[in-house]
Symmetry: C2
């Protein structure tokens, strides 16, 4: 029993151990997916331009492709008349060459014909049957985008870590990308333990309650960029939990359990992890983190969250979400996303333990969500948490507090 | 030709016409989906609590279930000794009744046994072989959550329009919901038109460019909460476009086309819509909205965006995104999401026309993205737009501007 206490960690220490274990056990991976389905995904590598863009000298206006020198001195009163020898839509080509005295009618986006070096906008042209009067002088390259003028082949198009917005998807499409290499979503399995838990498919009998943590934590993992599966409920029983963990390790790279970790009658997960692998954290010296457990089995991390849904959501967001978010490639600094507000109800905090208090926000009002029975309903408005330092016993109603927000994705 | 001008609309008028057409043609619908897969979806109706919660009197602490009166006067020095007649884990039940002088050991979350009205925490108990010494007096209901004390059957649990966060999903699960009625995603088909456009599967030949708008707008519709499909590229040709629109109307409720709407050589979409249905807007008096077209065929809205990707993204976000977002059930007031910054490059604006200028933001610096050739690459950093009023000709470098942001979802 004596060594047990060594595994109770302070908050900062726990954060560091968890991040280090993630760094040791996992390496971010990329996967090729269609660009068309990439909304919100994150680039796994720098993308270089595969070609010059535009890929040809391109007309930027509707008008006439000409030799600029043929227009010098032209104005409304003294137009220069040119022979129109062809017509080029965007996407079409011609064998004809624009020689001195000739012009080709051209649409925006069309490739410039050989011999021409400028476009005179249709507004400055007076079109006849087979000729055109040019009413304004043009300089060479006027309303022409030169081949490769926007970006050259091999230049950096987009950086690793970019979140693929519609605009970024547009850029990849313009360069002809069919697929793109994005961060693969880490595979996370979620297990609930507890004799009192039943599935929503089951009938509620006396003394039982519906499992909340399984699919709640699954969805929170999804919000961190993970690929999460709820793997079911097991009894708070050594053999069943052990078997479930062993099976689940085949289905997911990270396992998150909840329940079964209280210091009371259960605490079976600790014994299972001790047998199957190694326990690194057994209790975090924070409120409400006492029953939290972190172990490694077969180079895969297994995390045990408290069974109470308010505590489970809190501990997941403070200690686990940052590591999963980072592995998912999301560049989100949790510490930087906070807002200040006025506390609406006093928070008592145990001296000598950091407290994380779940809160909801309404304008600049901050309401603590206490872990009592009715708190399950306040979960629906949980926006983030307030940190109460070790040395503080009380934060009073009316004090200004900093709220760290949960929202993780774009 | 004379009536044509009647269909050129001012910006505010166009916004109103589009929203009114959406209100006439579509009605938001709900669909039942599993709660477990509901992250980010939006409640289509108020959810009432189907049951009392907690569903039974519940122990809030590990300890002993007792009659409170049996503990009156107890303290460290004068404990009251009670006979322990059973042990109740969370989820288990017992036939035994707590009569005076008796106690049942109980775990957090377990249903209170008959006869008991309080829990004495394990810290205030000294457990013997078949008895327990109670070291502290308890009042009735101490550490007991009464049945229905958190919420009663039929009370409002969650409001229509709520975005389903992990916490809200947790609340639904706690009440035993297997499925939830959420806003159905509006079905949107996207078509690109242009002779110069090729698919990313095709080889790039001289004069052609890869289609950008199809899958870019598809992904932007997804970011508005829509269910979008890119239906392919058609030539800028009356018969092909007409056939494509007719086919596409069978696959989607809203159609968004781009290209084929310039005042130049194409403009086929206008003629197709005139034949198949009715055109309500043909040109919006904004920069860059001139080629925008809005029509209705078979009670379905068809929108034609400009072919230039920068203009297409801009017009989609200003005029179409709000209507799709609203139909998706997302309560997002675009006008309210703006930030101020300092313009880094002068914007020239045509007098007499509202201008929407696409911009990117870097800290408090605002960079305009001009619709010239290279703008396609700036799309990757487009964050929103700046409005330049009709009466303004120039917004100078260094001026403070308001940027309306594109980001639409949670």
């Amino acid at each position: 029993m004596g060594t047990e206490f060594l595994k109770i960690k302070e908050s900062e220490e726990a954060t560091e151990i968890i991040q280090n274990l993630f760094d040791e056990c996992y390496r971010a991976e990329g996967e090729e997916i269609p660009v068309a389905d990439a909304y919100g995904r994150i680039l796994f590598e720098d993308v270089l331009s595969p070609m010059d863009f535009p890929p040809f000298d391109k007309a930027l206006k509707d008008g006439f492709a000409v030799k600029a020198e043929d227009t010098f001195g032209a104005n409304d009163e003294n137009p220069n008349t040119l022979e129109v020898i062809d017509f080029l839509e965007a996407g079409s080509t011609t064998d004809k060459v624009v020689e001195s005295g000739k012009a080709i009618e051209i649409s925006t986006g069309a490739a410039m014909p050989e011999g021409a070096d400028a476009v005179v906008m249709v507004e400055y042209c007076d079109k006849g049957e087979k000729s055109v009067d040019i009413l304004k002088s043009a300089t060479p390259t006027l309303d022409v985008a030169k081949k490769g003028s926007d970006i050259g082949q091999g230049e950096l198009l987009m950086e690793k870590g970019s979140v693929l917005t519609p605009g970024k998807i547009g850029v990849l499409l313009s360069q002809g990308f069919k697929t793109v290499n994005v961060f693969k979503k880490p595979s996370v399995g979620v297990i609930s333990t507890g004799n009192e838990l039943i599935d929503q498919e089951d009938e509620l009998t006396y003394g039982k309650i519906f499992d909340v943590n399984g699919n709640m934590i699954k969805n929170d993992v999804i919000s961190c960029g993970g690929d999460a599966k709820f793997l079911g409920i097991v009894k708070d029983n050594y053999d069943q939990l052990k078997q479930k963990i062993q099976e689940s390790l085949k289905e997911a790279d990270i396992l998150i359990c909840s329940g079964g970790t209280s210091a009371g009658l259960g605490d079976v997960i600790k014994h299972v992890l001790d047998e199957l692998g190694e326990v690194y954290i057994h209790g975090i010296s924070v409120q409400p983190g006492k029953p939290t457990i972190v172990g490694v089995v077969d180079d895969k991390i297994i995390i045990g969250l408290p069974g109470n849904p308010v505590s489970a959501l809190m501990i997941f967001n403070v200690f686990v979400a940052p590591a999963i978010t980072k592995l998912s490639g999301i560049d989100y600094n949790f510490a930087e996303h906070s807002i200040n507000g006025i506390l609406q109800k006093r928070i008592h905090s145990p001296v000598g333990r950091m407290q994380y208090q779940l809160v909801k926000i309404d304008g600049d009002k901050v309401y603590p969500i206490f872990k009592d029975s009715g708190a399950i309903f306040s979960l629906s408005t949980a926006d983030g948490y307030v940190k109460v330092l070790k040395s503080v016993e009380l934060v009073d109603e009316g004090e200004e507090v900093e709220v760290f927000l949960f929202n993780k994705l774009i």
